[in-house]
């Protein structure tokens, strides 16, 4: 390995376009100009390969690839797609630079140094799998199956996750997409309407779109952004509630610059106002509501004035939003959000959103919350085996659930605390598949201690992310461009258009290089070594995909003939199911010791001299996954910190100044970023994009670029109903040229 010549230095002196210059012959064009060999040919006339499904994020747009001399040179949207069409976003376009990233994992590696400070030795697959299977079996024999923890993420992680959960029998699975992201949303809506809501609001046909923190444009899910922009183009009014003038606030009609942590009070006041002024959807509530009287009584303290004071927004503005929603109900899209792990009071906020939708009667109607009716496919995987219940960490000494409304899996903190204390039992095995807990879960140092004390840690990934530095065995996986696995189904995104359903299956656009393998191979080989050969459900990924497609009457061969996407007639989704219910006051919640009526729980305020650290998305990155991608890194090389311009003036900071941070526990950021001064953020908060500042030198482009916000999220807050994290309860001061700079109080 060349230690001194980092790829970034190299890039500064010469271009490292991984795609070779075309050896095109001079061709006379229509204009009679002789083309130079230096003309880039463009991709239009190159070979098209179909069947790609993106996994740069989890929206999973449908792709085609353009190939030149057996090399993928461009990725485009599949024109047959009724989801993304021929469009894909910056990350989708940049998939080429993941596929051919020289820093990508290539061979099985064994850590012959120490966890956290690895020294990598290349080993054979047999040796690697022997060690993984052997060591995991040893942990299982010594401590029990429940001693194996799993941190999965992405479509490839489902198969191994099911193996460990269902076959091996450990309940200790911590999916980041639940416990650090959307789990709270799903269970809060389950407790209100009996279903997880997704992001299923009919924005193209809405008269008002209401976003609480949603910041489309800084986050990008292609067809969801299309849906949002279509709604705006169709004349929908946009209300954005956000402490920051986000990309969505920039297109809003009303921007509520709310004090962080107080959103529930805002929502309760709106609902109380609507009920008091008889602007609620009475007929809808009579028919579908449950516990509405108790609910109305329970929120009546929330006058506009009380909320205005708590939320630091004008009374008139809360009224304006409420009136706008009522005037346009029920064609209003109350967006359920996606990443909702904010403050540790989030279940109540999500319950409030679900109830507000009900107060407006905006379920299953045009412009409201409407789930599409999509096609069904199979879910072939490991079978559930019988296992004993007593190893559930989520039980207290009275055998009651600690967190009664957890999403699937076990709350991350319960797993980590058991690992560190050994009580009620030790956690000694760790399987990390496609997740980077180090840059995802609050309390980085705690996570490192948890990994240190394991008997065995294995990681499977495509890139050498930070957590891979803690693996004993590191396995290289095929990327989404080199494999089968995911079946994407859905409908057209605008319900005003012809109703169509689609089924597509991910197919490789390029052959795997080096020694990368797929998840079915890896899991099956480990399963054999752990003694579970007879439980193996499929021998290959293709077998699994074909079995799942068969349920819909399709096959991979058939899809290949249909340009990768099968389209058929769809169904009108605007029908309220007979048994639909909106549970405003939830008695079960109360029986479990939680508020039955959505309730505002205040959060800790920044201490003097500090501001709250807020984070969010940037459109060229997906969490921390993409930070090593040269094209994406070039587009946004670091994550500037947004600082209120008036405060910046007082602090002597200007645009472009390099700063680091120190948080309320004295933890300092390892790297620096630049200041962005703007009036578009509250004085009590600062904001940066999440997922920068990798500490792994093997990520030669992303290492130390920008600041790792997760490293500053050291105070751990957990939502009491769900056990999922709240991650915006940490506060920072700035450091410039070694000096700590206080943030003047907002007062």
């Amino acid at each position: 390995m060349a230690f001194n010549l980092t790829r970034r230095k190299f890039l500064q002196s010469a271009s490292l376009a991984a795609v070779a210059l075309p050896l095109s012959k001079a061709v006379a064009s229509e204009s009679g100009i002789k083309r130079s060999p230096h003309e880039s040919k463009g991709s239009l006339k190159e070979e098209t390969v179909v069947g790609g499904i993106c996994e740069m994020c989890f929206w999973r747009c449908q792709l085609v690839g353009k190939k030149r001399d057996d090399r993928l040179v461009k990725i485009e949207g599949n024109p047959k797609s009724v989801d993304n069409g021929s469009s894909i976003c910056a990350r989708g376009n940049a998939g080429i630079k993941l596929l051919y990233d020289p820093d990508r994992l290539k061979y099985p590696l064994k850590n012959v140094g120490e966890r956290g400070n690895p020294k990598w030795k290349r080993i054979s697959w047999k040796e690697a799998l022997d060690e993984c299977g052997g060591k995991l079996k040893a942990v299982q024999d010594k401590y029990g199956s429940q001693s194996i923890s799993v941190f999965p993420h992405g479509s490839t992680a489902k198969y191994p996750m099911h193996f460990f959960e269902r076959t091996v029998g450990t309940p200790n699975v911590s999916e980041a997409s639940f416990f650090q992201c959307r789990g709270i949303r799903d269970t809060a809506y389950l407790a209100t309407i009996g279903k997880a809501p997704g992001e299923k609001v009919d924005m193209p046909n809405a008269k008002v779109i209401f976003l609480l923190g949603g910041h489309f444009g800084e986050n990008v899910h292609v067809s969801h952004v299309k849906s949002y922009i279509k709604g705006l183009q169709n004349g929908a009014k946009l209300v954005v509630v956000d402490p920051r003038y986000s990309a969505s606030a920039a297109k809003s009609d009303i921007w509520v610059q709310i004090k962080p942590g107080t959103d529930t009070a805002f929502l309760l006041a709106i609902m109380n106002y609507l009920i008091k002024n008889k602007k609620h959807a009475e007929d809808f509530i009579d028919e579908y509501g449950d516990g509405f009287e108790e609910f109305a009584a329970g929120i009546k303290e929330w006058t506009l004035e009380k909320a205005a004071k708590e939320c630091d927004v004008p009374v008139a503005q809360i009224k304006e939003v409420a009136d706008l929603l009522a005037a346009n109900a029920p064609s209003v899209s109350i967006h359920p959000g996606r990443h909702v792990s904010w403050y540790g009071n989030d279940f109540q906020r999500q319950r409030s959103l679900a109830c507000l939708t009900g107060v407006l009667g905006a379920y299953y109607v045009k412009g409201g919350w409407v789930p599409a009716i999509g096609p069904k496919v199979g879910k072939t995987s490991w079978e559930h085996k019988e296992h004993e219940e007593e190893h559930n960490l989520n039980l207290n000494s009275d055998e009651e659930l600690i967190y009664p409304y957890t999403p699937p899996g076990t709350p991350t903190e319960l797993i980590r605390d058991a690992a560190l204390t050994g009580k009620p039992y030790p956690i000694k095995g760790c399987v990390i598949w496609g997740q980077n807990p180090i840059q995802t879960i609050p309390g980085q140092e705690k996570m490192k201690k948890v990994l240190k004390q394991m008997d065995f840690v294995m990681c499977v990934d495509v890139m050498p992310t930070d957590v891979t530095m803690w693996a004993d065995i590191l396995l290289p996986e095929v990327s989404y461009l080199e494999r089968y696995d995911y079946i994407k189904t859905g409908t057209q995104w605008d319900f005003a258009e012809e109703h169509q359903q689609y089924i597509s299956a991910r197919m490789p656009l390029a052959a795997p290089m080096f020694e990368r393998k797929d998840q079915v191979y890896i899991t099956n080989e480990i399963a054999i070594r752990m003694g579970y050969e007879k439980d193996i459900p499929v021998k290959s990924v293709e077998e699994m995909v074909d079995k799942n497609l068969k349920v819909a009457g399709l096959s991979l061969a058939q899809l290949k003939k249909e340009e990768g996407i099968h389209i058929r007639e769809g169904k009108n989704p605007y029908n309220i199911p007979e048994d639909f219910e909106v549970v405003f006051y939830n008695e079960d919640l109360e029986d479990d010791g939680f508020p039955g009526v959505p309730t505002y729980i205040p959060v800790e305020q920044p201490p003097a001299g500090f501001a709250r650290l807020l984070y969010g998305r940037v459109p060229v990155h997906t969490f921390n996954r993409t930070q090593n991608n040269v094209w994406l890194n070039k587009a946004m090389p670091s994550n500037p910190v947004w600082l209120n311009d008036e405060l910046a003036g007082k602090m002597g900071l200007a645009d472009g100044d390099e700063v680091g941070f120190i948080n309320q526990e004295g933890v300092k950021s390892r790297t620096t970023t630049i200041v962005k001064t703007t009036p578009g953020i509250r004085k009590d908060s600062v904001y940066m994009g999440h997922g920068y500042g990798s500490a792994n030198p093997l990520m030669s482009v992303g290492v130390n670029a920008g600041v790792d916000d997760t490293s500053l999220i050291t105070k751990i807050t957990v939502d009491p109903e769900t056990g999922a994290h709240g991650m915006r309860n940490n506060f920072v001061k700035f450091i410039k040229d070694g000096k700590v700079i206080d943030i003047p109080s907002a007062a």
Binding site: G32, E218, A249
Partner: protein, 270 residues
């Protein structure tokens, strides 16, 4: 026919799909771009908060500043109108404005890589591609947006237009009164003119009043000092060693405000 591009800022969400698709399509080296996206704001614009984007690209100007600055030896070039079959022969250096479709193009085989055109452009739309070397230039070739001429001629969309996730980029013939781009011009879509310039940019912007104000107040390109540019060009065509030194200074671009160390997220304070 004059091809033009409209950027509809009401639709644009600043996602950067256009810049990456262009890079992939035309093999642009990592550190350069044929197009760019900068974020403007949030900033106050006449007592209103605004934030928008500057998705920029070559303007294929009506009266380009770059074309006359090219010091390469001229040739007579015959252009053919794809539709009518008409021909026109013009004396051109290594870069020209097509008489039939209005796009500005570069002949890589004759470009000497001096960078005069890049310096002359007030928008920083051109760069020297260091990967493209031959016996005419050891320093690279001028490169820029071509309005995806080969794709358009084959009946397809420019790569940026095709990938735009919100349909914010609209491409077509500005001389056709029924085209989408013409409709946008009638609605008030306008291009960014440099101070004191009348270049006639054909990449135009449309959006809410406050967003247009933010964009146009922030982006004030300056015309290059052409005396400086021409001195360089002259030297370049005469003395290669001298050209190398001067090029290192010159290629930083005359419009200093636009060039950022942290390109991609550019904000101008009001």
């Amino acid at each position: 026919m004059q091809y033009g591009m409209i950027i509809d800022l009401e639709r644009c969400v600043g996602c950067h799909a256009c810049t990456i698709a262009c890079k992939a399509e035309w093999e642009v080296p990592v550190e350069f771009g044929r197009n760019w996206v900068y974020r403007m704001g949030p900033a106050m614009v006449e007592n209103e908060m605004a934030s928008t984007y500057y998705p920029g690209l070559c303007n294929h100007c009506n009266d380009p500043v770059c074309v006359p600055e090219c010091p390469a030896d001229t040739v007579d070039m015959t252009f053919t109108d794809a539709k009518s079959g008409k021909t026109e022969t013009i004396e051109v250096a290594a870069t020209w404005k097509d008489p039939f479709d209005g796009t500005v193009q570069i002949d890589k085989s004759r470009c000497i890589g001096c960078g005069a055109c890049a310096d002359a452009c007030p928008y920083n739309a051109r760069y020297i591609n260091p990967d493209q070397l031959d016996d005419v230039s050891e320093d690279g070739k001028a490169d820029k947006c071509t309005y995806c001429k080969p794709r358009v001629e084959a009946g397809s969309d420019p790569a940026c237009v095709q990938t735009c996730i919100t349909g914010a980029r609209i491409f077509g013939d500005l001389d056709d009164p029924d085209s989408e781009v013409s409709k946008y011009v009638k609605k008030g879509a306008k291009g960014i003119e440099p101070e004191g310039g009348e270049l006639g940019p054909n990449s135009r912007y449309f959006g809410k009043k406050k967003d247009m104000a933010l964009l146009f107040n922030s982006q004030k390109p300056e015309l290059a000092d052409l005396n400086q540019v021409r001195r360089r060009a002259m030297l370049a065509s005469m003395v290669k060693p001298a050209m190398k030194t001067i090029k290192n200074i010159g290629l930083l671009g005359v419009v200093g405000v636009m060039v950022a160390k942290h390109a991609g997220d550019k904000e101008i304070k009001e």
